[in-house]
């Protein structure tokens, strides 16, 4: 199963490397959100400073929607859904592969955004261990929930408008947990942030497990 998953993830990442949609469109979009926040909240009055953690994760969440749409737009053309169904790959492995590819792209995006807040919001990165663990757990949760809802909305004509409505409320716990953990880390009190990181890990575990079970019936919908 892991070999199958690696196959799917490798395929997605290879396409991404050649098409450069993530690097040319999603990443600039995420950085653009950071700039828009600075316009909306006057950077001189210290609001940006206090809200950095929340703004960072809102930017990640909005970019996730784009990345998920991209990941499943890949699968919906040129008879690919049939090819994927006929490939004989385990649906759970397909889910894991899609999730892994998505998670990897999101992690790169998060690193980029971290550099963005350091440069644009003059944030000092304290508590690097907690920051890294939070990013990992939150990304796994976002990617697995994103994969599930991505395939749920794939193949529908209204998927661009439907996906955010379905996905964003569901990942609200990720936004809450990741923001609190980041706040604790940036404030130099990582001890308060670790329980939130645990919540993120539970979220990710539940969605990975459910996704592996539910992907079988959903593959027919691609």
């Amino acid at each position: 199963m892991l070999a199958d998953a690696r196959l799917i993830a490798g395929k997605d990442l290879r396409i991404e490397r050649r098409a450069r949609v993530a690097t040319n469109q999603v990443a600039p979009f995420a950085l653009l959100i950071l700039v828009l926040f600075a316009f909306a909240l006057d950077p001189d009055r210290g609001i940006l400073d206090r809200a950095t953690a929340g703004l960072y994760w809102v930017a990640v969440l909005l970019s996730t929607v784009l990345a998920v749409q991209r990941a499943y737009a890949l699968e919906s053309t040129d008879g690919l859904p049939d090819a994927l169904r006929l490939s004989g790959l385990d649906p759970a492995a397909v889910f894991l592969g899609k999730t892994a590819a998505l998670a990897l792209q999101l992690l790169v995006l998060e690193a980029l955004l971290l550099a963005g807040v350091v440069l644009l919001y003059t944030t000092e990165l304290a508590g690097p261990a907690l920051l890294a663990a939070t990013c990992l757990a939150a990304t796994l949760g976002l990617a697995s929930a994103g994969s599930l809802y991505g395939v749920l909305a794939a193949g529908l004509r209204v998927r661009e408008t439907l996906l955010p409505l379905l996905l964003l409320p569901v990942v609200a716990p990720v936004l809450i947990g990741a923001t609190r953990a980041f706040e604790a880390a940036l404030a130099g009190t990582p001890g308060e942030g670790w329980p939130w990181c645990g919540l993120l890990a539970i979220f990710a575990a539940i969605y990975v497990a459910f996704g592996m079970l539910a992907f079988g019936p959903l593959m027919e919908e691609l």
């Binding site: 569901v170 539940i206 919908e221």
Partner: protein, 248 residues
Amino acid sequence: MNQTTTGGSPAHTGSRGSRIVGLLAAGGAVALLVFALVLSPADRIQGEAVRLMYVHVPAAICMYLCVGLLGLGSALWLVKRTPGWDVLAAAAAEVGLVFTALTLLTGMLWGRPTWGVYWVWDARLTTTAMLAVLLAGYLALRRVPATAESRSRRAAVAGLLVVIDLPLIHYSVSWWRTLHQGETIATTDVKIDGLMLFSLVLGMAVGVLVTVWLLIHRFRVAWLEEEVEQGGLDLALAERRAEAEVGA
């Protein structure tokens, strides 16, 4: 009144059973009005505003009942793949959204005189608002044109996800709030007046009856819709065939 559709189902959604439930619900609602507005006393602290409780608490209970049925219908559809479970989930989601909206509305109206504001970022309020959004998303997904099988499959997974996500949201939100402030809703009213308690229980019973009545009708409407959808193709085929025969 005794027309039947092609599938042999009645052309209307009432039956003896549903009429009895409906009459009981209507009678109960009248009794509830009397108990809630006239017979039960005003609260010592909250005054007349406490009467909102007789609608608010039952609405919240009906909301949970519907969400439970949504999860049950979705899970059993995935196991058994019979259309009835999907139709049950659809009916429960719609009725559930109505009660979620009612819970939010009465809660906000109650919040204004007791807390001074319509909305506080309390764990329960926030979770209920998120539930409303989740149910709206589920219903939007159902509205997307698709074949019956495909729609049921998507809806079943989405319905299960609503139920799975709800505790996660509630847990994270309540933890989030308790870090900042204590529970806003005080649970100190251990002593409740006998007549108030009776009105509350009556409200819950009426609420459940209304829910059941709505669910029965919504279920039957959805069932008939499905039949029309399936019959529609056969009908169109027969018409085209008849046209072809006339042409020949």
